[in-house]
Amino acid sequence: MLKQKNAVKEFFRKVPPLIFIAIVWIIAVFLIAIFHKFIMPQDPVATDLVNRLAPPSFMGGDQGFFGTDALGRDTLSRLIRSIYTSLTVAFIGSIITAVLGTIVGFIAAHFKGIVDEILMTLVDFQYAMPFMIMALLVLAFFGNNIILFVILLGIQGWMRFARLARGMALSAQEDGYAVAVKQLGATPFRIYARHIFPNVSNIIIVQFTLNFPQKIIVETSLSFIGLGIQPPETSLGSMMAYGRGYLMSQWWMAVIPGIVIFLTTLAMSIVGDWVRDNLDPTVVK
């Protein structure tokens, strides 16, 4: 009992209050995303043309907590559904980025020579070419669908993972453990997957926590300009685009999803920075 109390005390001593609040917020939005089906008060696409553009209940409305939009759809339900869509798309996108980047980095480090040169030139090329433009080009030529959109999000930022993974794999190859398992006859795949990856995963995880909020911004930006998530599906960005048309009279329609995006990316950025400062041995304090 005493030990447990000390552990809690220790946790609060190590985690500053601001970080703690940020972590609580992140857990809350993830819980909302996971259980969105059970907590949406109404069907997010059900229209009710009699009760259109109702203000939030705390501003005198009688149509649900956040009111309704121009088609009478319940804003709170749409917000919950949007949190689910935005987080899911950003999460899958970040995983694709991490896996793709890490594999490219390992391949470059393993084969060296010409393979390394070609892959690193691609990395330079990606640094020079803004992701937004590449995404718009591909969306223009192939039209929009959700799978293509998620794959595109997966491309954003892969080169950071590739550079990190390559650098770490190059130095790990020289480490005693990698040399030892190689002598024992392990295949390259086994060495990278079972031995090198676990040793460098800390840094990959830190990079993941930094990439994830960027993904949310990229997804919401693309959805905001109308080229991301398409109706009837909704995301935080497309909700804001919809609300942009009602700024003069129903300002909350754009502001509510905006606040959710801002607080979520802010919380993730500060937690990500904090994690990096505490986990990443390459950061000198």
Binding site: T121, D124, F125, A128, M129, P130, M132, I133, L136, L137, V138, L139, A140, F141, F142, G143, P213, I217, T220, S221, F224, I225, G226, L227, G237, M240, G243, R244, L247, M248, W251, A254, V255, G258, I261, F262, T265, L266, M268, S269, I270, D273
Partner: protein, 310 residues
Amino acid sequence: MHITYFLGKIARALFTMVLVVTFVFVVLRATGDPAQAMLPEDATQQDIEHFRSMWGLDKPLYEQYGVYWLNILKGNFGQSYRDRRPVTDIMAERLPKTVYLMTLSIVFAVIIAIPMGVKAALNRNTFIDRFTMGTAVFGFSMPNFFLGILLILLFSVKLKILPSSGSDSWKHIILPLLTTGLAYIGSYSRFTRSSMLSVLNKPYIRTAIAGGLSRNRVIYGHALPNAAIPVITIIGATVGRIIAGSIVIETVFAWPGVGRLLVTSVGARDLSVVQAIVMLLSITIVTANLIVDILYGILDPRIRTKKGGV
């Protein structure tokens, strides 16, 4: 001056351009029939024939690639099917608007951010330092379309002193300028701060102080020029990305520049326009990167003489 340093940088820039053109060509070919993709649905047989011969679509793939290059080099990007005008004419109309907005934003940000970053570095852990770091985190997490909407709510809806869309008068530029400027201030000031901090710890600064130079002389004569290099990189990167950076902001404020043109063209699948903007954009980025590299070489002799550099 080491000529090989500069030649190497130019070669790399050209190579990046080749990759961009090739990438666009591959994407275009991957759609199947470019004539079908690029021309409107009501295109006549004659239009299609003309398009095919212009881009050499009846020839083998490697020749198509050559023809593609020739057209690009001649600045021949075809016609917008929405406007029925050459893409180059449309660009000539839209580009100045974007350059005007984004250049002012960058200048505005530099004027505020650099003194702010220097001040923060010289007064570590004071209010100004925390404020600078706070602005940086804020600028990083705040999607600029949300910031734009908040500014519209405050200045256009509530106070009714500034217009929320269009570009007709000088008043129209203030809100988009503030929105983009604030985001840049966050990153510039953070870079200036960290760069100054690392320079201030160097022995030659201690020597300069010990030698009896005035505080201002040390800061502005010795520390800042040396701290400038990473700052120039980040500013150069935003200059190269002005069109990319303008996409969202021009949509929020209905600013009639290239960014908005790109968004509406993607939506309408006006592919000739999209293709032209992508090329133009890559040229801007590659040129900006090249200029930054050359500036580096001039500012820091170590870079152009040492192999590889920083």
